[in-house]
């Protein structure tokens, strides 16, 4: 249909836990889209991914209909889980907060591949390694 796009919003929210409160309500409410419809569909599609942050990229059309696609979890979330740390380092120059192995890095890069601007796992590993470094996570 004449999909003239009004807005694009990516919500980075915990799988299975979308509800009308912020950030969902405040991001989608002003566009007049059916928030409960989004929450139901998102929760249904992510219910087997509990504990992960699963981004949803929502396209909002001129007539206030919408659709969304799920993305891979943020690299920072995956790295933190792999390193077993609570949060990243405020300053990677001062502090190493944890580490991941090259095998873990490869695993994360492979998972993230569909959302990265490359088809090459080695290249993707470099991107993820950069994120790790900036979070204070060392690659061993």
């Amino acid at each position: 249909m004449a999909k003239k796009v009004r807005a694009v919003v990516t919500l980075q929210i915990p799988a299975g836990q979308a509800n009308p409160a912020p950030p969902v309500g405040t991001a989608l409410g002003p566009h007049g889209i059916n928030i409960m419809d989004f929450c139901k569909a998102y929760n249904e599609q992510t219910r087997d991914k509990a504990g992960q942050i699963i981004p949803a990229r929502i396209t909002i059309f001129e007539d206030r209909s919408f659709n969304f696609v799920l993305k891979t979890p943020p690299a920072s979330d995956l790295l933190r889980k792999a390193a077993g740390v609570e949060k990243g380092s405020a300053n990677q120059l001062r502090e190493q907060v944890g580490s991941v192995t090259r095998a873990q890095l490869r695993e994360i890069a492979t998972l993230k591949l569909p959302d990265l601007n490359t088809k090459d796992v080695e290249q993707a590993m470099k991107v993820i390694e950069g994120t790790a470094r900036s979070m204070g996570i060392e690659v061993r």
Partner: protein, 317 residues
């Protein structure tokens, strides 16, 4: 001893940070430390009227938005800003903005955008929560806007509905290509169509449309399927001449690409209703219809959007 301030029920502080696209991930990550419910990322986009009406994310700063329970006292703001300042980013961040947000019934608030609409002489599209008593001769479609295009709020939907109102007679057969919410298929039934076939390449839209048709007691006269014309045609008998009215509301590019198949599906004496394009593309689409064997082109417009009605002769010359 002073602990963190008690949250104020129903009050939120929304935090907005503008960041370079390459830095969005780290900024979102830092914000999610204070806002475990998650963050919203609003990229800069370009949505000019290209022929697909697609969208392009631009390499310009994006807004990263999070909300925390109010209050967010000055020392916590300072701590957050320090955290952001220490992130190893590629480009400087914009100022951190704070906005007080009162809780609202977000699950219902969006409904204020939808009101009952009268279209043409006798069509009424109403939100399902707005009761309406139909007057004699009126055709009423009840629709909950959702995850498929066709809420009745777009000019192209209205143009197609008006054309259907002019052309559907009791007993007309209809093919709806790119049905979205199913609004056109349902309206065709309400206007007297005997049977409607409705297609969408998006299985999700087909599910929404099927539900909408059931809600309107129109399900029995509409056959929905995932697919399109051409190779993706889902039914056994070929589409040639299968409907007295073929309606398509997608985009200029899609309508042009599908034109030969669309025209072929129109039964002799029938018509094609096509929309989803703007003035610039109207002459080209009318010409395609002519080359595909449809004549008597009529173009109508609503705002920027145009609609073509073209007919197949009763007897082929």
């Amino acid at each position: 001893m002073s602990g963190p301030p008690e949250p104020t029920p129903g009050r939120w502080v929304e935090i907005t940070v503008t960041a370079d696209p390459a830095d969005v991930e780290l900024v979102a990550d830092a914000l999610s430390e204070v806002a475990p419910a998650g963050v919203a990322i609003l990229p800069a986009i370009r949505t000019d009227d290209d022929r697909e009406f697609g969208v392009e994310e631009l390499p310009l700063p994006a807004r990263v938005v999070a909300a925390v329970a109010a209050p967010l006292p000055p020392h916590e703001r300072a701590r957050l800003e320090l955290r952001l300042a220490e992130l190893p980013l590629g480009a400087p961040l914009g100022a951190v903005e704070y906005r007080d947000v009162a809780e609202s019934d977000w699950s219902e608030e969006w409904k204020r955008f939808y009101t009952l609409q009268r279209i043409g002489r006798r069509l009424v599209v109403r939100p399902s929560w707005t009761p309406y008593e139909a007057r004699a001769g009126e055709a009423v479609v009840a629709l909950d806007p959702g995850m498929a295009f066709g809420t009745g709020q777009h000019e192209t939907t209205r143009l197609c509905l008006e054309a259907l109102e002019r052309l559907v007679r009791d007993g007309t057969t209809v093919l709806d290509v790119g049905t979205g919410s199913g609004v056109l298929a349902i309206a065709a039934v309400k206007l007297g169509a005997a049977s409607v076939r409705a297609l969408d390449t998006d299985a999700g839209a087909v599910a929404v449309a099927t539900e909408n048709a059931a809600r309107n007691d129109a399900g029995e006269r509409i056959e929905f399927a995932t697919g399109s014309l051409g190779d993706a045609w889902p039914w056994r008998e070929p589409p040639r001449g299968c409907a007295a009215l073929v309606v398509v509301n997608i985009s200029a590019a899609a309508v042009e690409a599908l034109m030969p198949e669309l025209a072929e599906a129109v039964a002799p004496g029938g018509a094609l209703i096509a929309s989803g394009f703007i003035a610039r593309d109207a002459p080209g689409i009318a010409e395609r219809a002519r080359l595909a064997g449809l004549g008597g082109a009529e173009l109508t417009a609503d705002g920027d959007w145009w609609c073509l009605v073209a007919r197949r002769e009763r007897r082929e010359r």
